[in-house]
Amino acid sequence: MRSTHPFEQDEVMAYLDGEISADRASEIAQHMQQCAECRELAASFRNLSHELAVWEIEPSSARLSEQMHEQAATLADGRAKTGSTVLQLTPVQRLYGAISSWKQGRPAWALGGALVAILALAVGIPSLYRNAAFSSYVASRDGAPFAAKSRSAPGLTGNVEAGPLARSNSRSIRSGSHSSKYRVPSKTSLPHSATLFPSNLGTPRRLRR
């Protein structure tokens, strides 16, 4: 088709549908005067539309109109009471509207949503990781020197002991008959999630009497 016609077939269809620029339409019209094949194609599409027209739909019932007028009246009453032309929407409707607006191509919504999601991940994942590590640390303290166990908890060692702040805030404790050196991290050297376990901090079981 491309080799013998200056137009694609779907362009001829678009011409018939009135969906083509005036210049292009003029060219296609001229071509069709000389091209029997394109005229045949055009005729077949016209016939198709005529054939499809036989599928008719019965009118809607009066109930649809009645119900819609009721809905409109109810809404208008609500607006009159609030004295506002702004419709009162439920949260679900607002969400639906927001999604609809986004789907209608508001890149700001998409960008904002993506940024929030990235921020949530950036904050949330390390926090979860630290929580898991801290839980491991709390569990691991039982029955073994903390310093030794703490190194077995991934992440916690880095947070508690790796940084200079952690080191400077560590203190040595000698307790009773035990000569072992325990390094107890201060609160400032712990992850923020440590505040979820304030009673466990600074009072390891080995120090209780």
Binding site: D10, L52, W55, M68, Q71, Q93, S100, Q104
Partner: protein, 191 residues
């Protein structure tokens, strides 16, 4: 300017300012089109009415968010199409998802006029995406740009689908003419 002379876009903007007449006029203009939209895609007439009502309720409630970036028809049929998609999704969850979809008007629905049966049969055989484009063009009379807006596809994609659908439908209708034609042909051949 009277509401009957106003464009759709003017009417929806008037409705945003509180004009009930504007909405009534829009409803009058599109009631049958929207009902027919659902009726051609949904088996049950009562369900088609419910979905039509749902569409206008969404328009009614969300009118404040309408912005005249696209035509009102694109907006309206876009809402209708979303509601239809939700309806189909619910139905698909209760079916195996194969074939036409469980709710496409049955070619042999009782009480239907004989006219159009073969057309429905042929349309039902088209792939769903192609069928939607064809229906929106032939029955809802939307422009290419409006159809692309409703279906959220590029205009060229939509045009290719329409072309493919028309060619396929042409073949289907040639191979399966209406019963009256078939009977006539049979009569002629027997003479």
């Amino acid at each position: 300017m009277g509401t009957s002379m106003a464009t759709d876009e003017q009417l929806i903007l008037e409705f945003q300012k509180g004009s009930r007449e504007a909405f009534s006029e829009l409803f009058l203009r599109y009631r049958e089109l929207i009902y027919a939209f659902f009726r051609r895609r949904v088996k049950d007439p009562a369900r088609a009415e419910e979905l039509s009502q749902e569409t206008f309720v969404v328009i009614l409630r969300a009118a404040q968010r309408y912005e005249p970036r696209a035509t009102f028809r694109t907006y309206l049929f876009g809402v209708a199409y979303k509601i239809l998609a939700n309806h189909r999704r619910k139905l698909d969850q209760n079916s195996d998802g194969a074939g036409l979809g469980p709710d496409f008007p049955s070619p042999s629905a009782p009480g239907e006029a004989e006219n159009g049966l073969w057309v429905r049969e042929a349309i039902a055989k088209l792939p769903r995406n192609d069928r939607e484009v064809l229906l929106l063009r032939e029955y809802e009379d939307l422009s290419y740009e409006e159809i692309a807006g409703v279906l959220r596809v590029p205009v060229n994609t939509m045009r290719s689908r329409l072309f493919r659908a028309r060619l396929a439908l042409k073949e289907l209708l040639v191979s399966a003419p209406p019963k009256s034609v078939r009977q006539e042909n049979a009569l002629n051949s027997s003479i």
